[in-house]
């Protein structure tokens, strides 16, 4: 007998080890969006009463940057190595360190939901 693969088993398993996945980060440029409003007090998880919006905007990306597949680095519109700005610059929207986008390093960005179509 062949067992059927439940393709959503990790997304719906409350204690599955993350290691059952091959965790991948959110694609660059695929900004998460949600217009959901906070739920009323009592419904909203208590720890969310302390969340705050970043006081400074995320570091903006230089216009026209691209990935140079030969040199294997990001470059600006003139083909020069991309300078991400002062690595000590503010970027408090990052969770860890201030050298740029560190992503919400939650290891399970996509759970087992597919990425939106390219």
């Amino acid at each position: 007998m062949t067992a059927m693969l439940d393709s959503t088993r990790f997304a719906h398993d409350p204690i599955a080890g993350d290691s059952a996945q091959f965790p991948l980060a959110r694609p660059a440029g695929a900004k998460p969006t949600s217009s959901d409003e906070p739920s009323p007090v009592g419904v909203r998880p208590w720890n969310l009463c302390g969340v705050v919006s970043p006081s400074a905007p995320s570091r903006s990306l230089p216009a026209g940057w691209s990935y140079d597949p030969i040199r294997q680095i990001a470059v600006d519109h003139e083909g020069q190595p991309l300078v991400m700005g002062d690595p000590s610059a503010d970027s408090i929207s990052d969770n860890d360190g201030d050298e740029g986008r560190s992503e919400d390093w939650r290891y399970d960005y996509i759970q087992d939901d597919p990425n939106p179509a390219a």
Partner: protein, 318 residues
């Protein structure tokens, strides 16, 4: 011999590493899984106990048998064709995860770090017990979704709360971050919502300063983080401009505990956060197996990129 770097297209730390390894004459292949399947393909055949084949992009062929080290930094999610239905994308994603992800995860190379080991240690409760078992001092901690134990714990001493898994939320069209914060008496008067999910409460540790400890192979580099504002005194991430950094020697007992932690967790790289108490005791807060190191190198001059390059260049197939 080749180093495989798995990360996104926009990663200045990886850019720097590509250049450093290139200067050393090390063959480097940088791959973003988001290129799959349109700009990245794979063909590998099982021969004996390993997969033999290659990854291909329009610009390079990566012979799997040549890979001696893998730097698993932040590869991005697969991108599938818009023509697929949602169900078909779900199917394609799972097949890619177990197919391409499985082939890569099975490479008999030096991993910094292996994604499964990183994922295991992502759980803060696992980190805390691992740290304690390894001889590190950890703060008293309560995880609960019952208000009564929270009341008891928080009234026994100054308490902070922090997120366990996800420190940010997207709502109202913007991102909001949950930093570590002190629990004030008014907070305890209204704990409605605690029952909705697990919450972490931790005893506040009196601090002289915080320390970021970077482990790269056998190297341990510690830097103090002195908070310069009220906000960053509780959570240094809230006000980077107010922080000052200085290299510091790692106490022997802390280094020993950290090495045991790394061995137990199967990691070769991690960024640890400690509180250093006024009397000098180091108290473990957390470890991030994917934590950033560039800002420590920039502020202190510690040769972290060189250490990591040494580690990656020295890998061998098992």
């Amino acid at each position: 011999m080749a180093v495989l770097i798995l990360t996104g297209d926009l990663d200045s730390t990886a850019d720097h590493m590509v250049e450093v390894l290139g200067d050393r004459g090390v063959e480097v292949h940088r791959i973003n899984t988001a290129w799959f399947p349109s700009q990245l393909s794979v063909a590998a055949e099982l021969r004996g106990d390993r997969w033999v084949g290659a990854l291909r992009t329009p610009h390079r062929v990566v012979d799997l048998e040549t890979i001696t080290s893998v730097w698993y930094r932040a590869p991005e999610a697969y991108q599938f064709a818009a023509e697929l239905s949602a169900a078909e994308r779900q199917h394609a994603n799972m097949e890619a995860k177990y197919g391409l992800g499985g082939i890569l995860a099975s490479l008999p190379a030096l991993w910094v770090n292996h994604p499964s080991r990183m994922a295991d240690i992502a759980y803060k409760p696992v980190q805390l017990v691992t740290a304690a078992r390894c001889g590190l001092v950890v703060p008293g901690t309560l995880i609960a979704n019952e208000p009564a134990p929270v009341q008891v714990f928080a009234r026994e001493g100054q308490t902070v709360t922090k997120m366990i898994g996800a420190s940010s939320i997207i709502e109202q069209g913007k991102r909001k971050i949950g930093f570590t914060r002190l629990v004030d008496p008014p907070d305890l008067d209204d704990l409605r919502g605690v029952e909705q999910t697990t919450h972490l409460f931790q005893r506040w540790v009196p601090k002289a300063y915080e320390a970021r400890l970077i482990v790269i192979g056998d190297h341990i580099t510690s830097t103090t983080i002195h908070a310069g504002s009220t906000e960053s005194y509780v959570d240094f991430r809230t006000d980077y401009d107010a922080n000052t950094y200085c290299l510091i020697d790692t106490p022997g007992d802390v280094a020993d505990g950290v090495r045991r932690f790394m061995s137990s967790a199967g990691l070769l790289y991690a960024a640890f956060d400690f509180v250093v108490m006024p009397e000098g005791q180091w108290v473990f807060l957390e470890a991030n197996a994917g934590g950033q190191y560039g800002f420590v190198e920039h502020r202190t001059g510690a040769p972290l990129t060189a250490q990591l390059a040494d580690l990656l260049a020295g890998g061998s197939r098992s």
